[in-house]
Protein backbone atom coordinates (compact mmCIF):
# COMPACT_ATOMS: atom_id res chain seq x y z
CA UNK A 1 0.00 0.00 0.00
CA UNK A 2 1.54 3.29 -1.00
CA UNK A 3 2.21 5.80 1.70
CA UNK A 4 0.36 9.04 1.37
CA UNK A 5 2.80 11.72 0.39
CA UNK A 6 2.33 14.98 2.15
CA UNK A 7 4.42 17.43 0.24
CA UNK A 8 3.68 20.75 -1.28
CA UNK A 9 3.81 21.12 -5.06
CA UNK A 10 7.35 21.46 -6.29
CA UNK A 11 7.10 24.97 -7.70
CA UNK A 12 5.93 26.67 -4.52
CA UNK A 13 8.53 24.90 -2.44
CA UNK A 14 11.45 25.98 -4.55
CA UNK A 15 10.12 29.54 -4.66
CA UNK A 16 10.00 29.62 -0.87
CA UNK A 17 13.45 28.14 -0.59
CA UNK A 18 14.94 30.98 -2.57
CA UNK A 19 14.48 33.25 0.47
CA UNK A 20 16.10 33.01 3.84
CA UNK A 21 12.88 34.10 5.54
CA UNK A 22 9.45 35.64 5.17
CA UNK A 23 11.13 38.85 5.98
CA UNK A 24 13.53 38.75 3.03
CA UNK A 25 10.80 37.66 0.69
CA UNK A 26 8.44 40.44 1.69
CA UNK A 27 11.12 43.07 1.33
CA UNK A 28 12.24 41.75 -2.04
CA UNK A 29 8.72 41.80 -3.44
CA UNK A 30 7.96 45.23 -2.09
CA UNK A 31 11.15 46.80 -3.40
CA UNK A 32 10.65 45.31 -6.86
CA UNK A 33 7.06 46.53 -6.88
CA UNK A 34 8.16 49.98 -5.83
CA UNK A 35 10.83 50.07 -8.57
CA UNK A 36 8.31 49.09 -11.20
CA UNK A 37 5.91 51.77 -10.02
CA UNK A 38 8.68 54.37 -10.09
CA UNK A 39 9.70 53.24 -13.55
CA UNK A 40 6.15 53.75 -14.85
CA UNK A 41 5.44 56.92 -12.93
CA UNK A 42 8.56 58.73 -13.98
CA UNK A 43 8.21 57.85 -17.64
CA UNK A 44 11.15 55.49 -17.52
CA UNK A 45 13.07 57.46 -14.88
CA UNK A 46 13.02 60.67 -16.91
CA UNK A 47 11.13 62.77 -14.37
CA UNK A 48 12.74 61.76 -11.09
CA UNK A 49 13.29 64.66 -8.65
CA UNK A 50 16.72 63.86 -7.26
CA UNK A 51 16.34 66.54 -4.58
CA UNK A 52 14.09 64.09 -2.84
CA UNK A 53 16.37 61.05 -2.89
CA UNK A 54 16.86 61.21 0.87
CA UNK A 55 13.22 60.38 1.33
CA UNK A 56 13.59 57.47 -1.01
CA UNK A 57 16.38 56.01 1.09
CA UNK A 58 14.28 56.64 4.19
CA UNK A 59 11.36 54.83 2.65
CA UNK A 60 13.46 51.80 1.81
CA UNK A 61 14.75 51.57 5.38
CA UNK A 62 11.21 52.02 6.65
CA UNK A 63 10.09 49.08 4.54
CA UNK A 64 12.76 46.96 6.15
CA UNK A 65 11.75 48.01 9.63
CA UNK A 66 8.09 47.66 8.92
CA UNK A 67 8.30 44.11 7.69
CA UNK A 68 10.60 43.13 10.48
CA UNK A 69 8.15 44.40 13.05
CA UNK A 70 5.02 43.28 11.27
CA UNK A 71 6.21 39.75 10.71
CA UNK A 72 7.34 39.35 14.32
CA UNK A 73 3.93 40.54 15.37
CA UNK A 74 2.01 38.40 12.90
CA UNK A 75 3.80 35.26 14.12
CA UNK A 76 2.09 35.49 17.52
CA UNK A 77 -0.70 32.91 17.71
CA UNK A 78 -3.60 35.34 18.28
CA UNK A 79 -2.41 37.70 15.58
CA UNK A 80 -1.75 34.98 13.08
CA UNK A 81 -5.23 33.57 13.63
CA UNK A 82 -6.92 36.90 13.21
CA UNK A 83 -4.99 37.87 10.08
CA UNK A 84 -5.58 34.52 8.44
CA UNK A 85 -9.32 34.66 9.06
CA UNK A 86 -9.48 38.37 8.44
CA UNK A 87 -8.08 38.04 4.94
CA UNK A 88 -10.50 35.25 4.20
CA UNK A 89 -13.39 37.50 5.27
CA UNK A 90 -12.11 40.63 3.58
CA UNK A 91 -14.82 40.71 0.96
CA UNK A 92 -17.78 40.89 3.27
CA UNK A 93 -20.41 43.48 2.40
CA UNK A 94 -19.82 45.41 5.61
CA UNK A 95 -16.07 45.79 5.09
CA UNK A 96 -16.33 49.17 3.36
CA UNK A 97 -18.55 50.57 6.04
CA UNK A 98 -16.42 49.22 8.88
CA UNK A 99 -13.21 50.39 7.23
CA UNK A 100 -14.60 53.89 6.73
CA UNK A 101 -15.76 53.92 10.30
CA UNK A 102 -12.52 52.63 11.79
CA UNK A 103 -9.97 54.24 9.53
CA UNK A 104 -11.52 57.37 8.04
CA UNK A 105 -14.07 58.90 10.38
CA UNK A 106 -12.85 57.24 13.59
CA UNK A 107 -16.33 57.00 15.08
CA UNK A 108 -15.03 54.92 18.03
CA UNK A 109 -12.61 57.65 19.03
CA UNK A 110 -15.44 60.18 18.88
CA UNK A 111 -17.20 57.96 21.42
CA UNK A 112 -14.15 58.07 23.66
CA UNK A 113 -14.30 61.85 23.71
CA UNK A 114 -14.57 64.72 21.28
CA UNK A 115 -11.29 66.26 22.40
CA UNK A 116 -9.47 63.02 21.72
CA UNK A 117 -11.21 62.64 18.41
CA UNK A 118 -10.29 66.18 17.30
CA UNK A 119 -6.66 65.70 18.32
CA UNK A 120 -6.48 62.35 16.60
CA UNK A 121 -8.25 63.61 13.49
CA UNK A 122 -5.84 66.52 13.12
CA UNK A 123 -2.71 64.44 13.62
CA UNK A 124 -3.95 61.43 11.72
CA UNK A 125 -5.30 63.16 8.67
CA UNK A 126 -2.51 65.72 8.72
CA UNK A 127 0.03 62.89 8.47
CA UNK A 128 -1.89 60.79 5.98
CA UNK A 129 -2.53 63.71 3.62
CA UNK A 130 1.10 64.73 3.88
CA UNK A 131 2.12 61.24 2.85
CA UNK A 132 -0.35 61.29 -0.02
CA UNK A 133 1.35 64.42 -1.32
CA UNK A 134 4.97 63.65 -0.48
CA UNK A 135 5.40 60.07 -1.58
CA UNK A 136 3.96 60.42 -5.09
CA UNK A 137 6.35 63.32 -5.51
CA UNK A 138 9.29 61.35 -4.14
CA UNK A 139 8.69 58.38 -6.36
CA UNK A 140 7.71 60.49 -9.31
CA UNK A 141 4.19 59.10 -9.40
CA UNK A 142 2.97 62.64 -9.63
CA UNK A 143 4.65 65.78 -10.85
CA UNK A 144 3.79 69.09 -12.46
CA UNK A 145 4.92 70.48 -15.78
CA UNK A 146 4.76 74.25 -16.34
CA UNK A 147 3.61 75.61 -19.69
CA UNK A 148 3.84 79.08 -21.15
CA UNK A 149 0.14 79.91 -20.90
CA UNK A 150 0.02 80.19 -17.11
CA UNK A 151 -1.26 76.64 -16.64
CA UNK A 152 0.28 73.64 -14.90
CA UNK A 153 -0.19 70.12 -16.13
CA UNK A 154 -0.63 67.59 -13.40
CA UNK A 155 1.00 64.30 -14.38
CA UNK A 156 -0.03 61.15 -12.50
CA UNK A 157 1.64 57.80 -13.18
CA UNK A 158 3.06 59.24 -16.39
CA UNK A 159 -0.33 60.35 -17.70
CA UNK A 160 -1.36 63.97 -18.10
CA UNK A 161 -4.28 64.24 -15.68
CA UNK A 162 -5.41 67.84 -15.82
CA UNK A 163 -4.40 71.42 -16.42
CA UNK A 164 -4.77 73.90 -13.60
CA UNK A 165 -4.45 77.68 -13.68
CA UNK A 166 -1.20 78.72 -12.00
CA UNK A 167 -2.90 81.32 -9.82
CA UNK A 168 -6.19 79.47 -9.40
CA UNK A 169 -7.79 78.20 -6.23
CA UNK A 170 -6.95 74.58 -6.97
CA UNK A 171 -3.28 75.26 -7.49
CA UNK A 172 -3.24 77.25 -4.26
CA UNK A 173 -4.21 74.07 -2.54
CA UNK A 174 -1.62 72.10 -4.49
CA UNK A 175 1.16 74.47 -3.47
CA UNK A 176 0.05 74.76 0.10
CA UNK A 177 -1.16 71.23 0.75
CA UNK A 178 1.81 70.44 2.94
CA UNK A 179 1.56 73.75 4.78
CA UNK A 180 -2.07 73.06 5.62
CA UNK A 181 -1.36 69.52 6.78
CA UNK A 182 1.61 70.78 8.81
CA UNK A 183 -0.66 73.20 10.63
CA UNK A 184 -3.15 70.40 11.25
CA UNK A 185 -0.44 68.21 12.75
CA UNK A 186 0.95 71.02 14.91
CA UNK A 187 -2.50 71.77 16.28
CA UNK A 188 -3.21 68.09 16.95
CA UNK A 189 0.16 67.46 18.58
CA UNK A 190 -0.31 70.49 20.81
CA UNK A 191 -3.65 69.13 21.97
CA UNK A 192 -2.10 65.74 22.62
CA UNK A 193 0.79 67.22 24.59
CA UNK A 194 -1.59 69.32 26.65
CA UNK A 195 -3.60 66.22 27.53
CA UNK A 196 -0.49 64.28 28.43
CA UNK A 197 0.54 67.00 30.84
CA UNK A 198 -2.88 67.24 32.54
CA UNK A 199 -4.49 63.82 32.52
CA UNK A 200 -3.49 61.73 35.51
CA UNK A 201 -3.89 58.38 33.86
CA UNK A 202 -1.87 59.55 30.86
CA UNK A 203 0.77 60.88 33.22
CA UNK A 204 0.93 57.61 35.06
CA UNK A 205 1.37 55.36 32.06
CA UNK A 206 3.27 57.50 29.61
CA UNK A 207 6.87 56.83 28.68
CA UNK A 208 9.13 59.22 26.84
CA UNK A 209 10.13 56.84 24.05
CA UNK A 210 6.66 55.51 23.50
CA UNK A 211 4.40 58.48 24.03
CA UNK A 212 6.37 61.69 23.74
CA UNK A 213 9.01 60.94 21.11
CA UNK A 214 6.53 60.41 18.26
CA UNK A 215 4.76 63.63 19.18
CA UNK A 216 8.02 65.57 19.22
CA UNK A 217 9.08 63.99 15.94
CA UNK A 218 5.84 64.94 14.25
CA UNK A 219 6.16 68.40 15.66
CA UNK A 220 9.72 68.69 14.32
CA UNK A 221 8.74 67.48 10.85
CA UNK A 222 5.80 69.87 10.68
CA UNK A 223 7.61 72.89 12.04
CA UNK A 224 10.68 72.47 9.81
CA UNK A 225 8.41 71.89 6.83
CA UNK A 226 6.51 75.07 7.57
CA UNK A 227 9.76 76.96 8.08
CA UNK A 228 10.81 75.95 4.58
CA UNK A 229 7.79 77.77 3.23
CA UNK A 230 8.39 80.73 5.49
CA UNK A 231 12.00 80.98 4.27
CA UNK A 232 10.92 80.77 0.66
CA UNK A 233 8.16 83.32 0.91
CA UNK A 234 9.56 85.84 3.37
CA UNK A 235 13.34 85.41 3.29
CA UNK A 236 13.96 84.69 -0.39
CA UNK A 237 15.11 81.17 0.36
CA UNK A 238 17.79 82.18 2.84
CA UNK A 239 18.89 79.22 4.95
CA UNK A 240 16.58 77.01 2.99
CA UNK A 241 19.16 74.31 2.10
CA UNK A 242 20.06 73.71 5.75
CA UNK A 243 16.43 73.65 6.81
CA UNK A 244 15.67 71.33 3.97
CA UNK A 245 18.29 68.89 5.27
CA UNK A 246 16.94 69.09 8.83
CA UNK A 247 13.47 68.47 7.51
CA UNK A 248 14.58 65.49 5.44
CA UNK A 249 16.44 63.95 8.36
CA UNK A 250 13.50 64.46 10.68
CA UNK A 251 11.24 62.70 8.21
CA UNK A 252 13.68 59.84 7.79
CA UNK A 253 14.05 59.36 11.56
CA UNK A 254 10.28 59.41 11.98
CA UNK A 255 9.95 56.78 9.28
CA UNK A 256 12.58 54.64 10.98
CA UNK A 257 10.83 54.97 14.34
CA UNK A 258 7.35 54.41 13.00
CA UNK A 259 7.19 50.60 12.99
CA UNK A 260 8.55 50.32 16.53
CA UNK A 261 6.70 52.89 18.57
CA UNK A 262 3.26 54.23 19.04
CA UNK A 263 2.83 55.14 15.38
CA UNK A 264 2.88 51.45 14.50
CA UNK A 265 -0.83 51.47 15.23
CA UNK A 266 -1.39 53.26 11.91
CA UNK A 267 -0.69 50.27 9.68
CA UNK A 268 -2.04 47.88 12.34
CA UNK A 269 -5.38 49.63 12.64
CA UNK A 270 -6.50 47.76 9.52
CA UNK A 271 -6.68 44.66 11.69
CA UNK A 272 -9.56 46.17 13.66
CA UNK A 273 -11.60 45.80 10.48
CA UNK A 274 -10.59 42.13 10.44
CA UNK A 275 -11.67 41.84 14.06
CA UNK A 276 -15.06 43.31 13.37
CA UNK A 277 -15.59 41.05 10.34
CA UNK A 278 -14.41 38.08 12.36
CA UNK A 279 -16.88 38.71 15.14
CA UNK A 280 -19.78 39.48 12.81
CA UNK A 281 -19.20 36.60 10.43
CA UNK A 282 -18.66 33.84 12.95
CA UNK A 283 -21.30 35.32 15.25
CA UNK A 284 -23.88 34.86 12.51
CA UNK A 285 -22.65 31.34 11.79
CA UNK A 286 -22.86 29.77 15.22
CA UNK A 287 -22.94 31.14 18.76
CA UNK A 288 -21.37 29.43 21.72
CA UNK A 289 -23.84 28.66 24.48
CA UNK A 290 -22.54 29.14 28.00
CA UNK A 291 -21.86 25.74 29.53
CA UNK A 292 -23.55 26.83 32.75
CA UNK A 293 -26.53 29.04 31.91
CA UNK A 294 -26.91 28.14 28.24
CA UNK A 295 -27.01 31.72 26.98
CA UNK A 296 -25.10 32.46 23.78
CA UNK A 297 -22.25 34.87 24.53
CA UNK A 298 -19.63 34.68 21.76
CA UNK A 299 -19.15 32.91 18.42
CA UNK A 300 -18.23 29.24 18.66
CA UNK A 301 -15.27 30.00 16.44
CA UNK A 302 -13.85 32.64 18.77
CA UNK A 303 -14.34 30.50 21.85
CA UNK A 304 -12.47 27.67 20.14
CA UNK A 305 -9.82 30.01 18.80
CA UNK A 306 -9.13 31.45 22.23
CA UNK A 307 -8.88 27.97 23.75
CA UNK A 308 -6.42 27.07 20.98
CA UNK A 309 -4.40 30.25 21.43
CA UNK A 310 -4.17 29.71 25.17
CA UNK A 311 -3.07 26.15 24.53
CA UNK A 312 -0.26 27.38 22.34
CA UNK A 313 0.77 29.56 25.27
CA UNK A 314 0.65 26.53 27.58
CA UNK A 315 -2.38 27.89 29.40
CA UNK A 316 -5.05 25.31 30.14
CA UNK A 317 -8.25 26.38 31.84
CA UNK A 318 -9.91 23.00 31.75
CA UNK A 319 -12.04 22.54 34.87
CA UNK A 320 -12.85 19.29 36.63
CA UNK A 321 -16.51 19.93 35.80
CA UNK A 322 -15.52 19.24 32.20
CA UNK A 323 -15.68 22.69 30.70
CA UNK A 324 -12.98 25.09 29.65
CA UNK A 325 -13.38 28.51 31.28
CA UNK A 326 -13.61 30.09 27.82
CA UNK A 327 -16.86 28.18 27.40
CA UNK A 328 -18.57 30.09 30.21
CA UNK A 329 -20.29 33.42 29.72
CA UNK A 330 -18.69 36.21 31.70
CA UNK A 331 -21.18 36.41 34.60
CA UNK A 332 -21.14 32.62 34.99
CA UNK A 333 -17.35 32.57 34.84
CA UNK A 334 -17.20 35.13 37.63
CA UNK A 335 -19.80 33.33 39.70
CA UNK A 336 -17.97 30.07 39.10
CA UNK A 337 -14.92 31.68 40.72
CA UNK A 338 -17.09 32.67 43.67
CA UNK A 339 -18.00 29.01 43.98
CA UNK A 340 -14.35 28.02 43.98
CA UNK A 341 -13.68 30.53 46.73
CA UNK A 342 -16.70 29.84 48.91
CA UNK A 343 -17.61 26.23 48.17
CA UNK A 344 -21.18 27.26 47.40
CA UNK A 345 -22.22 26.93 43.75
CA UNK A 346 -23.02 30.57 43.13
CA UNK A 347 -23.08 30.04 39.36
CA UNK A 348 -25.95 27.62 39.73
CA UNK A 349 -28.19 29.92 41.79
CA UNK A 350 -30.95 31.20 39.56
CA UNK A 351 -30.57 34.83 40.54
CA UNK A 352 -29.55 37.68 38.30
CA UNK A 353 -26.21 39.19 39.21
CA UNK A 354 -26.21 42.51 41.03
CA UNK A 355 -25.35 45.64 39.09
CA UNK A 356 -21.63 45.52 38.35
CA UNK A 357 -21.39 48.50 36.05
CA UNK A 358 -22.72 51.49 37.96
CA UNK A 359 -20.86 54.59 36.93
CA UNK A 360 -19.44 57.11 39.35
Amino acid sequence: MPKPILVQPQSIRSYNRAFASHFAKSIFITVILLAVLVFIGTRMFTHLDLNLYGYMVGTLVFIGGFFYRFIAWAERPPTKNLIKKGIRLLFRKSTTKTATNHMVTHQFIWNRGIYRWAQHFLIGWGCILSCFVTFPLVFGWMYFTMEENGYYTVVGMGINLMKVKADGVLSFFFYNALNITAIMVIAGVSMALYRRLKNMQARAEQKFLYDFLPLYMLLLVSVTGLLLTVMNVFFHGKGQPVMSLIHQYSVIITLLYLPFGKLAHIPFRAVSVFAKNYREHYGSQSMKNCRVCGDPFVSTEQSNDVIQILNENDIQFKMQEGFHLAELCLPCRRKYRMSRFSGFNTHEAKVKEANQNAKG
Partner: protein
Protein backbone atom coordinates in the same frame (compact mmCIF):
# COMPACT_ATOMS: atom_id res chain seq x y z
CA UNK B 1 9.22 48.82 49.30
CA UNK B 2 7.04 46.72 47.07
CA UNK B 3 3.46 46.47 48.15
CA UNK B 4 0.71 44.25 46.90
CA UNK B 5 -3.04 44.13 46.90
CA UNK B 6 -4.07 41.56 49.49
CA UNK B 7 -7.65 40.31 49.70
CA UNK B 8 -9.21 38.76 52.79
CA UNK B 9 -12.49 37.44 51.39
CA UNK B 10 -13.93 36.65 54.81
CA UNK B 11 -14.20 40.34 55.64
CA UNK B 12 -16.40 41.55 52.78
CA UNK B 13 -19.61 43.30 53.84
CA UNK B 14 -20.89 43.96 50.33
CA UNK B 15 -20.88 47.74 50.56
CA UNK B 16 -19.33 48.08 47.09
CA UNK B 17 -17.27 51.01 48.22
CA UNK B 18 -14.44 49.53 46.17
CA UNK B 19 -16.54 49.87 43.04
CA UNK B 20 -17.54 53.43 43.86
CA UNK B 21 -13.93 54.33 44.61
CA UNK B 22 -12.77 52.66 41.41
CA UNK B 23 -14.80 55.20 39.44
CA UNK B 24 -12.92 57.99 41.21
CA UNK B 25 -9.41 56.97 40.21
CA UNK B 26 -7.62 59.48 38.01
CA UNK B 27 -7.87 57.70 34.70
CA UNK B 28 -10.86 55.45 35.19
CA UNK B 29 -13.31 57.81 33.51
CA UNK B 30 -16.04 57.19 36.10
CA UNK B 31 -16.31 53.51 35.19
CA UNK B 32 -15.75 50.81 37.77
CA UNK B 33 -13.62 47.94 36.68
CA UNK B 34 -14.23 45.20 39.20
CA UNK B 35 -16.99 43.13 40.74
CA UNK B 36 -18.68 42.26 44.01
CA UNK B 37 -20.83 39.15 44.14
CA UNK B 38 -23.47 37.85 46.47
CA UNK B 39 -22.37 34.33 47.24
CA UNK B 40 -25.98 33.24 47.53
CA UNK B 41 -28.47 36.07 47.73
CA UNK B 42 -31.35 33.73 48.55
CA UNK B 43 -29.61 32.37 51.62
CA UNK B 44 -27.28 34.86 53.22
CA UNK B 45 -25.69 38.27 52.98
CA UNK B 46 -22.25 36.88 52.23
CA UNK B 47 -20.49 38.78 49.48
CA UNK B 48 -17.06 38.70 47.92
CA UNK B 49 -15.16 41.05 45.71
CA UNK B 50 -13.77 39.74 42.45
CA UNK B 51 -10.87 41.92 41.49
CA UNK B 52 -8.38 41.53 38.69
CA UNK B 53 -5.68 39.37 40.23
CA UNK B 54 -2.93 40.60 37.92
CA UNK B 55 -1.73 37.17 36.82
CA UNK B 56 1.95 36.50 36.47
CA UNK B 57 1.20 34.96 33.07
CA UNK B 58 -1.88 36.91 32.05
CA UNK B 59 -4.15 35.07 29.64
CA UNK B 60 -5.70 38.35 28.52
CA UNK B 61 -2.38 39.69 27.28
CA UNK B 62 -1.41 36.37 25.73
CA UNK B 63 -4.61 36.26 23.73
CA UNK B 64 -4.48 39.82 22.47
CA UNK B 65 -3.71 39.99 18.75
CA UNK B 66 -2.72 43.64 19.00
CA UNK B 67 -0.38 43.45 22.01
CA UNK B 68 -2.57 46.12 23.53
CA UNK B 69 -2.37 44.77 27.10
CA UNK B 70 0.91 45.79 28.66
CA UNK B 71 2.42 44.60 31.91
CA UNK B 72 3.77 47.39 34.08
CA UNK B 73 7.10 46.99 35.84
CA UNK B 74 5.19 46.73 39.15
CA UNK B 75 3.48 43.62 37.79
CA UNK B 76 0.16 45.36 37.17
CA UNK B 77 -1.57 44.11 34.03
CA UNK B 78 -2.72 47.36 32.48
CA UNK B 79 -5.92 48.28 30.72
CA UNK B 80 -5.79 48.04 26.91
CA UNK B 81 -3.76 50.74 25.19
CA UNK B 82 -6.37 52.86 23.48
CA UNK B 83 -4.49 53.16 20.22
CA UNK B 84 -3.82 49.47 19.93
CA UNK B 85 -7.02 47.80 21.08
CA UNK B 86 -8.83 46.51 18.01
CA UNK B 87 -11.98 45.45 19.82
CA UNK B 88 -11.76 41.70 19.16
CA UNK B 89 -12.62 40.84 22.81
CA UNK B 90 -10.31 37.83 22.92
CA UNK B 91 -9.18 39.03 26.35
CA UNK B 92 -12.68 38.84 27.80
CA UNK B 93 -12.99 35.26 26.60
CA UNK B 94 -9.50 34.31 27.72
CA UNK B 95 -9.53 35.73 31.26
CA UNK B 96 -10.19 32.83 33.63
CA UNK B 97 -12.05 35.12 36.02
CA UNK B 98 -14.07 37.14 33.51
CA UNK B 99 -12.55 40.45 34.52
CA UNK B 100 -12.05 42.65 31.41
CA UNK B 101 -15.04 44.77 30.48
CA UNK B 102 -15.77 45.91 26.96
CA UNK B 103 -17.22 49.18 25.73
CA UNK B 104 -18.70 48.50 22.31
CA UNK B 105 -19.31 52.22 21.61
CA UNK B 106 -15.67 53.00 22.07
CA UNK B 107 -14.57 49.66 20.64
CA UNK B 108 -12.32 49.39 23.64
CA UNK B 109 -11.58 46.96 26.45
CA UNK B 110 -11.03 48.40 29.91
CA UNK B 111 -9.93 46.66 33.07
CA UNK B 112 -8.37 47.19 36.48
CA UNK B 113 -4.91 48.71 36.18
CA UNK B 114 -4.40 48.64 39.95
CA UNK B 115 -4.73 52.47 39.89
CA UNK B 116 -1.33 52.65 38.29
CA UNK B 117 -1.17 56.41 38.78
CA UNK B 118 -1.23 55.73 42.52
CA UNK B 119 0.49 52.37 42.93
CA UNK B 120 3.51 53.24 40.82
CA UNK B 121 4.36 55.66 43.65
CA UNK B 122 3.45 53.20 46.40
CA UNK B 123 0.11 54.90 47.16
CA UNK B 124 -2.64 52.34 47.77
CA UNK B 125 -5.18 51.88 44.96
CA UNK B 126 -8.56 53.52 45.50
CA UNK B 127 -10.35 50.26 46.33
CA UNK B 128 -7.92 49.27 49.07
CA UNK B 129 -7.79 52.86 50.34
CA UNK B 130 -11.49 53.05 51.07
CA UNK B 131 -12.44 49.43 51.83
CA UNK B 132 -14.23 49.84 55.19
CA UNK B 133 -13.91 46.19 56.16
CA UNK B 134 -10.22 45.67 55.37
CA UNK B 135 -11.18 43.07 52.79
CA UNK B 136 -8.86 44.86 50.40
CA UNK B 137 -5.54 45.86 51.84
CA UNK B 138 -2.32 47.24 50.44
CA UNK B 139 0.49 45.41 52.18
CA UNK B 140 4.23 44.96 52.00
CA UNK B 141 5.72 41.51 51.50
CA UNK B 142 6.60 41.38 55.21
CA UNK B 143 3.07 42.23 56.25
CA UNK B 144 1.72 39.55 53.96
CA UNK B 145 4.19 37.05 55.42
CA UNK B 146 2.94 37.96 58.91
CA UNK B 147 -0.64 37.44 57.78
CA UNK B 148 0.32 34.13 56.32
CA UNK B 149 1.85 32.87 59.55
CA UNK B 150 -1.05 34.31 61.56
CA UNK B 151 -3.61 32.43 59.47
CA UNK B 152 -1.60 29.29 58.70
CA UNK B 153 -4.42 26.83 58.37
CA UNK B 154 -4.06 23.16 57.69
CA UNK B 155 -7.03 23.20 55.37
CA UNK B 156 -5.17 25.33 52.81
CA UNK B 157 -7.35 28.32 53.36
CA UNK B 158 -4.39 30.50 52.67
CA UNK B 159 -3.79 30.54 48.95
CA UNK B 160 -2.15 32.54 46.32
CA UNK B 161 -2.47 30.15 43.41
CA UNK B 162 -3.65 26.61 42.73
CA UNK B 163 -6.04 24.97 43.23
CA UNK B 164 -8.34 27.93 43.84
CA UNK B 165 -6.78 30.11 41.17
CA UNK B 166 -5.55 29.33 37.70
CA UNK B 167 -1.92 30.21 38.19
CA UNK B 168 0.36 32.62 40.01
CA UNK B 169 -1.00 36.08 40.67
CA UNK B 170 0.44 39.36 41.87
CA UNK B 171 -2.60 39.92 44.05
CA UNK B 172 -2.72 37.64 47.08
CA UNK B 173 -5.96 36.09 48.21
CA UNK B 174 -7.05 34.66 51.49
CA UNK B 175 -10.16 32.50 51.29
CA UNK B 176 -13.15 32.66 53.66
CA UNK B 177 -12.86 30.63 56.81
CA UNK B 178 -9.64 32.08 58.17
CA UNK B 179 -11.15 32.64 61.60
CA UNK B 180 -11.27 28.87 62.13
CA UNK B 181 -7.62 28.95 63.07
CA UNK B 182 -7.80 31.89 65.43
CA UNK B 183 -7.31 31.01 69.05
CA UNK B 184 -9.90 32.64 71.26
CA UNK B 185 -8.72 35.00 74.00
CA UNK B 186 -10.76 33.30 76.69
Amino acid sequence: MKKRLYIELENCIGCRSCLAACTQCGGHEQRNRNYVYDVNPLISRQTMPLMCLHCENPACARSCPAQAIQIHETGAVLSALVEKCIGCQNCTIACPYGIPKFDSEQNLMYKCDLCIDRTKDGIPPMCASVCPSNTLQWLSEEEIATKKSQFALENEKWVSSMPYLEGGTNVKINLPGILQGVEKLF
